[in-house]
């Protein structure tokens, strides 16, 4: 047998390591470095310590963006979870035309975000949008999303739910499909009603899947950008800005690369907190179940 030494192996790994270094590690280090400097076009970076972070954290626009992000994440992710759970159970209980409906439910995931937003802008257009006209025709209130901040936020929530429902749905539906049917037969014989089956068997057993879907969605939703940027651009008057949009504005509208980098790192920190909470819960689940 040939002996493989560490040094003998290194050249084989080098291409991947090099790629990682160039596209991930160096830029990351550069962002960390930038976040401690004042930097813009045509200006030599200048070290400022933590002041970028302080600036960002005390900026009312950042706080507004943070607040919007939290509201949108909390409302959208939980609504989406409830809808996905309901749909997964509905699909599992054997509705007619299941295959066609499945395609319909999954379709939004195949649509590019830009196309999806363009579509929604048209559908909800205040003058000619089919949905707006339909709502008017039915005498229902219209979403005045292009100038009412609350309506705009509602619109963003609806859009992000529509775009990401397939993800949550697929996870929950798969989890439900994986549950053996004899458990339900045993529960029926034990005397469980449908509602009791749901609370005492379905929900506990789907818990891990729900948790996984929930935390993935928290993290994804926290980075939400295109829905907001393409739909409202953060407007009216920065009222629907989310953190990722704030970052983009700092970097590319105000060319303040230092504070943009600081924002990015704050987002990373927040995601890490979410992710570690997720891993902690998951490990506890795994220890408790099986």
């Amino acid at each position: 047998m040939r002996k493989t030494t560490f040094l003998g192996v290194v050249p084989l790994l080098a291409p991947v390591q090099l790629l990682l270094l160039v596209v991930v590690i160096l830029p990351s280090i550069y962002v960390v470095w930038l976040s401690f400097h004042v930097s813009s076009f045509g200006q030599a970076p200048e070290f400022t310590g933590w002041s970028n972070y302080l600036r960002v954290l005390s900026d009312p626009a950042f706080r507004g963006a943070m607040w919007n992000t939290v509201v949108i994440v909390v409302v959208a992710v939980h609504l989406e979870m409830l809808m996905a759970l309901g749909m997964a159970l509905l699909f599992n209980s054997g509705i007619p035309f299941r295959r066609i409906l499945l395609v319909a439910v999954l379709a939004p995931y195949a649509v590019s975000e830009v196309v999806a937003v363009a579509m929604w802008r048209f559908l909800f257009d205040l003058d000619i949008g089919p949905i707006t006209l339909l709502m008017q025709g039915l005498g229902l209130p219209v979403l005045e999303w292009s100038y009412d901040p609350v309506d705009a936020t509602v619109m963003i929530v609806l859009l992000t739910i529509w775009m990401h429902l397939p993800f949550t749905f697929v996870i929950l539906y798969a989890a439900r499909l994986a549950m053996p049917s004899d458990l339900y037969e045993a529960a029926r014989i034990d005397g469980a009603t449908r509602l009791q089956c749901f609370w005492r068997v379905t929900l506990p057993l789907m818990g891990p899947a729900i948790l996984v879907a929930l935390l993935f969605r928290y993290i994804f939703a926290f980075r939400m950008f295109s829905e907001v940027w393409l739909l409202t651009g953060g407007g009216p008057a920065r009222s629907t800005e989310v953190v990722a949009v704030y970052l983009y504005q700092e970097a590319f509208s105000y060319n303040a690369f230092g504070t943009a980098s600081a924002t990015a790192l704050l987002m990373v920190a927040a995601s890490l907190v979410l992710a570690s909470g997720y891993i902690w819960l998951l490990r506890r689940q795994v220890k408790n179940a099986r």
């Binding site: 045993a186 014989i189 034990d190 469980a192 009791q196 068997v201 057993l205 099986r290």
Partner: protein
Amino acid sequence: MAELRLSGVKKDYGGHSVIKGVDLDIRHGEFVVFVGPSGCGKSTLLRMIAGLEEISGGTLEIGGKRANDVSPRDRGIAMVFQSYALYPHLTVAENMGFGLSLRKTPQAEAAKRVARTAEILQITHLLDRKPSQLSGGQRQRVAIGRAIVRDPSVFLFDEPLSNLDAALRMDMRMEIAKLHRNLGATMIYVTHDQVEAMTLADRIVVLNGGVVQQVGRPIDLFRNPCNAFVAGFIGSPRMNFLPVRVESVDAGMARVAAPGIGPVTVSAGRIAAPGQAILGVRPQILTPGDAEGRCLLHGRVALLERMGTETLVNIRLTDGPSVLAVVPGDLELSPDQDISFSFSPSDARLFPASDLPDPSAIPH
């Protein structure tokens, strides 16, 4: 009181008939075993009694009341599944107490019943474990415990032991027999293991293709099978079936012959006229050598299985099929050796040829 009455019970799956009209009376406290080849509808019948499967036709009465449309939880039954079907997220104690907690039984009362059942089944030390931390045999005990705790009037078992190894199966078999004695509840038990059927049952129901073939005490089925199917199904190893010609029938006795066999006079059974028939000869009634009044079979040893306590000899007859003989004790023979076996004609059974359109279809 939990006697069951099935009258003309049928099951169709979209026009495809699986149970073709079953009539059966099960007395209170009786242990009834359903046996039959795979796919004959044993589980379907049991699940209809449980209420897990709708009854397409006929009536099911439990305790004298029509139960066709009663939901499973109101039938007073408990079921033990082949797959155990334990709730993976609950501990053993919670699994066993699940039914009680659904019915809002006071906790102290429920805990007492779980503890008592656990004691009977000797699983008290497992009460805090999750099902995944148990062996197959322990899971089976928990599944049985879950049924006992609810104190049902009818127990349904669907091949509860088929996932266990042979030794454990024997232990559990005895335990189930003991349970039946102590609880005195009605039990219906599905299996395709005929040792389980013979040892546990008060009465055996032999099913084939959704039709009841025969119902009776195990020993009656063994001694007086009503047709070749039951004869082949009950008893191990399987009965030998020899194609013969009936030459004459007279006063309940038939004179039969085949190349290399007889002529010999046996009980006519359901045969009324000369023609083709099947002679059923259990492997245990064949003995080496010949004697006065016995029917001789001559052939060569094709296969020899020496178990120590008994010897299985597969003999290829000079003029036709192979037969299996089981001889007590050890028999020293060499393959291909010429050998003669004989049986007493009074031990053989005669069946119409129509009983076995395809003799190879009968499983061991």
